[in-house]
Symmetry: C2
Subunit: 658 residues, 2 copies
């Protein structure tokens, strides 16, 4: 838990919130506090609606054309352009304010359950890396007539003595270089050694001490996006991060369409090359950013779902898709990354995270590794919501997994203005239940250009709580009379206008449509029902779960309460839920730096029992039952049931206002 | 020991000899029996001098223009064109015969100490191969909904169950092929598995049962000649053998000149490519001969001296030649042979025999492996006489080695008509001590075109015993009066004419010259003195040695007595001496077929203590003392001393005859 920095009090609601982040944004604090201030430009400072009056305290605020000199003198500022520097007292002006009673009635529990991404593995930051590929510095005795063993023998003896590494072998390239390098370095050399269960192989030799120039790459091969993190393998330091849409996207958005494409003549080759092309582009970016030379990258750890893994490796994926759904391999060979066409030197080793089954891949193994659910007693539910939704339940003694063909809605797929969590994505949304005006925040506080996963969860939960949409995800069409934001779109479908064109980076209004909502409901239903089936398969219930970890590309701010409101999560104590972000990438990072994490990942993959949902009748029943906000079995969501009651009342009052 | 086939009795000497080989040549039997018949065309049937009368028995003889119909009726045949088919009684006609008394006096011991090449490892011919790369046939259960582990997992389980191989990994290429191959083979597949100390790697997968199509190559990289033997790795059968001069020969005859060439710009690359070119040529030959497809070669075991090994691997050999004589590596990496440019599939593994030191290489390790001196208690002296001369002394508990820069005289180098042991090489020589006429036998019984190692040992020993050359290797010029065969050559040096031009395949008389003899004396001296120094270094004497094994390209018939006569071997009980032929190739063959032999080879290389002769004063003294036939210390050769006395007597008699 980070240290508390200061406290901000909002008046007249008299809501106080502790601030943990340096330079926290005042609008974000208002959202988190449940204090409503209209804000429709995502924090870009252009709509001028989030005007607040700062009564006292330390802060840093940008001037704005929306605030007159007179107002500035009086203490008016734009919340979205204000950084908190110390304790503050802030007054929400009358025009931005709502009748407090109504609001608090609707909001219910006031606790902050917005989950900033957990820094997984932070405890490892003090542990010196012990990677599978390690640079060993050695100061050798020069040979003499009495001691004229071979150069390689001399090096091997020193590596054994200084680093305790035995069973040494070497690459041919090292053998070719060793006579010159040891003499060039005057017998002070650095050997790059790959450690495996069965021995240690020297893959590179350099003159002098180059231990600190050892880098590793964590590479997450997503169906939609490829993420790369560059690490210093000696210090463990994170040096650069990059991401790019997987260039296979034009051959289909999900794994099934990719597999179908791979079966066409030459299809597999094209897909393999596309993935490699994307990786190479992201690598160019991270090397550019960091100034690191790719020659010094000792190894890369890759994780991807089973299809992405096989496509990356150029392995025919046909049988992943055909019953009984058999992957080519779960444990994958280790070989030079360059063999795939990746622009890395021949000495850079590629390690792929082991897969579990055809639809539970190395990304999930990496995710479990990152969450450490395989190390503790706590019964943990891990859900990775990406293009597919994969679930793992268990602890250090057992684990079961399942895959739900969720669809990429939370990553922006199949959503009209959906986008991944990047600059300009709306990541937080609040809707005023009285006038249905939104309060939004974008990543990077720029004008919005779309909406990411956490934004969509917020949006649907808030629209439902405000009565704008009903439990089946359809718009309350009567509200079109109360607000222009609810309307029939040009193509006939109903929609809610989050931002007007001029407030966005788009050429049109940014809306959320009924098909978007349907899509999200299907996605959340498939995940929730997969969890339900998995739990039943082991004779447990949601109430037995001690910890829930959500992973995926939702965006940095995911609100647990909202996720329960839409029925993505079961209604449990929100404090047991945490958000892991890209746990696949984080698992790769850990495996890059710690040899024992590589071993653990292999154990994880082999210990998980996968359950095939596609052949389960129970799953179909559960899925249909979950196609509702939050669920058809409202008894499983008692708090949400009560809130829905209140919404109906508020809505009646709101109508009266009109 | 092979089975005795029949007996041949020579009259009037009444010498009987047991015959072990099928279709043994009658002239060869005469040579071995110590029965002299003039024969100067090497067994080609053209000189007609080896006419004998067969009194009784079974034989197969070719007609000859040299034998009249009348003679044929009487039983006259050319010994060199006669194959022995059963017990024979043969009369040597008066014109071919010598006075028996003189001959037997000169010959001394009558026992046959000609060493046909020992079939090393013959006891292994009944042991099923257990090679480092093995084809495993597997009949897999097809996957089902209840059992849908990955294809590779299924294969791995079966390999573990059926073959007991654990810690399996695979090549990327196998992963790419497995889904299609298992289904194409209807779940009956053959996996090629490489076993190492630390695990087993699947390098190839084929549909169906292909176990019998598994081949291995034993490859001896000699400085002069590259030998290849093709083996069936499933049955152990020897399928084909081929050899070719190392194409590096044009860059120097010995390792030192090769190293010097390698240091020139681009030199190393050229040398590497030349060796590879030669290997590829010999491979073409053995594949052509055998009809084996190179795709089915699973592995190749290479052995060469340290310089040849480094040049083959493309490793800069500079420091082999500079004190303190440090090789790049003694234990060598295992990698695909194709990486060197060898025309074998990417799945064919190359294993190089471990070296001991800069001048005791993998050929010696392979040789020791073949002789099994590392397994027994017997104190063994192993000498490999090739381009260099390497000596190993020891047993299962300890071994010491040394290298003598012997020069390639016994392989034909630096000898006017020297050649390697191939078709047309004179491999056996006898000289009649009365008239100095020779009796020669060539490899293939064709007209001679040169003389190989065993022929040169015979020739020098016989010339010395006949008094034609003296103990310092100079011709007894007085004999020019007794025989035209001893003469001053055109360029002024003295020589002995072995064959006249018309009896050869050459355009000139085939002779042995004083420089040739000097060369051989230097070579044998360097080897003998190396043995002496090594023995002294461990406090032993020649008399402590229980077994002597000579290896090298001498040719098939090496006469131990003659080798002692020239002082190449110490004067020991001839029965402890055996000839190993190309023990390097034989060691490679064993390592190709038996995994434990690979391990043993590594143990051998690491247990041998090498002694550097070039820095030893003792060695120089010993070398100078050995520059004499057989040695300046005649007390070490008491039998030869007595024989020399007799020679002088015989010579006096011979003179009287003139």
């Amino acid at each position: 838990m980070p240290e508390k920095k200061c406290t901000v009090k909002f008046l007249p609601d008299d809501v106080s919130i502790d601030v943990f982040a340096q330079d926290e944004n005042l609008l974000r604090l208002a959202i988190v506090s449940g204090v409503h201030v209209n804000a429709s430009c995502g924090g870009a400072g252009t709509c001028g609606k989030c005007k607040v009056k700062i009564l006292e305290g330390e802060y840093d605020s940008e001037p704005s054309a929306k605030i007159s000199d007179e107002q500035w003198e009086e203490g008016y500022r734009l919340a979205c352009r204000t950084k908190v520097k110390g304790d503050l007292v802030v007054e929400i002006p009358i025009e931005s304010r709502h009748e407090k009673g109504v609001l608090s009635r609707v909001r219910g529990d006031k606790q902050d359950h917005i989950l900033a991404e957990k820094r997984w593995g932070a405890e490892y930051d003090t542990v010196p890396p012990q990677p599978i590929v390690k640079k060993c510095f050695l100061s050798l005795e020069p040979p003499s007539a009495d001691d004229n063993i071979s150069d390689m023998g001399r090096l091997g003896q020193a590596i054994k003595r200084e680093y305790g590494l035995e069973n040494l072998s070497s690459d041919l390239s090292v053998l070719r270089e060793i006579p010159s390098i040891v003499r060039e370095g005057e017998w002070r050399v650095t050997a790059t050694v790959v450690s495996t269960a069965c021995g240690n192989r020297i893959v590179r030799i350099e003159a002098g001490d180059t231990r600190e120039s050892a880098y590793a790459l964590a590479i997450d091969i997503g169906t939609t996006t490829i993420h790369v993190q560059l690490l210093n393998a000696y210090t463990g330091k994170r040096l650069a991060r990059g991401a790019e849409y997987n260039a296979q996207m034009s051959m289909g958005e999900d794994v099934i369409t990719r597999i179908i494409h791979a079966l066409k003549p030459g299809g597999l080759e094209v897909l393999q090359k596309r993935a490699v092309k994307t990786v190479n582009e992201v690598l160019d970016e991270v090397f550019e950013k960091s100034g690191v030379s790719r020659e010094d990258v000792t190894h890369a750890v890759f994780a991807g779902n089973t299809t992405m893994t096989q496509l990356m490796l150029g392995v025919y994926p046909k049988y992943i898709r055909e019953a009984p759904y058999v992957p080519a391999a779960n444990q994958l060979p280790v070989f030079p990354a360059a063999e795939l066409g990746i622009n890395l030197p021949a000495t850079t080793l590629a390690h792929f995270m082991s897969c579990v089954a055809s639809y539970v891949g190395g990304d999930i193994t990496a995710g479990v590794l990152a969450t450490e659910m395989h190390l503790g007693d706590e019964l943990t539910l891990f859900m990775d919501v990406g293009t597919n939704g994969e679930i793992v339940i268990g602890n250090k003694d057992w684990m079961v997994s399942a895959s739900a063909s969720a669809g990429p809605a939370f990553e922006g797929g199949g959503v009209k203005f959906g986008m991944r969590a990047s600059y300009g994505a709306i990541e937080q949304v609040r809707v005023n239940p009285l006038d249905f005006e939104p309060m939004i925040m974008t990543i990077g506080q720029v004008k919005p250009k779309g909406i990411c996963g956490s934004g969509m969860i917020d949006c649907i939960a808030e629209l439902q709580q405000a009565g704008v949409i009903s439990q089946n995800g359809k718009f309350n069409r009567d509200l079109a009379e109360c607000t222009w934001r609810v309307r029939e779109g040009e193509e006939g479908g109903w929609e809610y206008v989050i931002c007007r064109e001029e407030e966005t980076q788009l050429d049109e209004d940014l809306t959320i449509t009924e098909p978007d909502i349907d899509n999200l409901i299907r996605t959340k239903a498939s995940i929730y029902s997969a969890c339900a089936v998995l739990l039943k398969s082991v004779g447990l219930e949601f109430s037995d779960i001690q910890r829930i970890i959500i992973a995926g590309g939702f965006g940095q701010y995911i609100d647990v309460e909202k996720a329960m409101t839409i029925g993505l999560l079961p209604e449990v104590d929100p404090s047991i839920v945490s958000y892991g972000g890209n746990t696949s990438l984080e698992g790769c990072r850990l495996a890059c730096l710690y040899m024992d994490k590589v071993e653990q990942s292999e154990q994880i993959a082999s210990m998980i029992t996968n359950i095939e949902l596609s052949v389960s009748n129970l799953y179909m029943d559960e899925y249909v039952a979950a196609l509702f906000l939050p669920h058809t079995r409202m008894e499983e969501f008692p708090i949400r049931a009560k809130m829905l009651e209140m919404t109906k009342k508020t809505l009646a009052e709101a109508r009266c206002d009109k």
